[in-house]
């Protein structure tokens, strides 16, 4: 019998939390992710299926939506990232595929990404050092895919003082370093 032990994107047993000045950076590991890409001319059908079955209305360009326990981000034209708690929705991709059937292609994304939640005053100061996204004009609920620390990331503004950063899991330590360095430079 294999004794497999889950580790976080940063390689720890428990999610890492760092506090620098007013900023708290938390490693978030409890979310399952799946991408949903509408097939040709099926975007309306995908939106309807998800709205009818789980009450999730897929967001417009640059926006996000929530329908507890699910949340969705706009990724690109007719493509969305759907999230749900990992404990209750470990098989999120399979679950979504059942709902959308042949109207969309669904890909498991959970282990491809890492997520850091950055909270605290001075959030915009931190992110304008890290990326060229217009963070000061981002309203709550908007999401932008851009670069930070040379990595392609999603910046998802959850509240005025709360930004979620989704980046490539294999570069989690580099992204974490970039966030910490930016936090220290404004502390």
């Amino acid at each position: 019998m294999h004794k497999l032990k889950p580790i976080t994107p940063l390689g720890g047993d428990t999610p890492r939390v760092d506090t620098v000045g007013s900023i708290t950076i938390t490693e978030v590991v409890d979310q399952a992710l799946a991408s949903v890409a509408a097939r040709n001319d099926q975007a309306g059908a995908v939106q309807k299926a998800l709205a009818d079955k789980i009450g999730l209305s897929l967001p417009e360009v640059g926006q996000s939506s929530q329908a507890a326990p699910y949340a969705a981000l706009w990724m690109g034209p007719e493509q969305w990232m759907v999230m749900a708690p990992h404990d209750s929705h470990e098989l999120l991709a399979a679950e979504l595929k059942q709902i959308v059937a042949d109207t969309a292609s669904v890909s498991e994304q959970t282990d491809g990404w890492c997520r850091f939640d950055v909270q605290g005053a001075g959030l915009c100061d931190l992110f304008e050092r890290l990326s060229n996204a217009p963070v000061r004009t981002m309203g709550s609920g908007t999401a932008i895919r851009t670069t930070a620390e040379h990595l392609g990331v999603f910046l998802w503004r959850l509240a005025e003082d709360h930004m979620a950063v989704l980046g490539p899991r294999s570069s989690a330590a580099s992204l974490h370093h970039g966030l910490l360095a930016a936090a220290k430079s404004i502390a």
């Binding site: 360009v61 990724m75 034209p77 060229n132």
Partner: protein
Amino acid sequence: MIINHPLLGPRDAQEFTYLGDASLLNRPDWQAEDAAEAFHDYLYLRDNPAGEHRELWYHEQGDRSWLVVTRNTLTHEILKVELARDVAKAAGKAAQ
């Protein structure tokens, strides 16, 4: 350089990668009689205008969409930005 993305608004050019002439969208019919010659021209022959040029850009660090950017090669002014899928769909309809 800033590219005014049709969906996302002005975005920094470092988020994009460049492919080349937008005529690459017009792939020849591989079953046509003159397919070999058509593919030769498609692959190797390009206009090299001093002035307005239509080119393909990929928003790699963004929404991963392909764009057709009309750019003045003398001034680098960007005159028009369209989603390549819209351009291709419009061309497809026109051809039918």
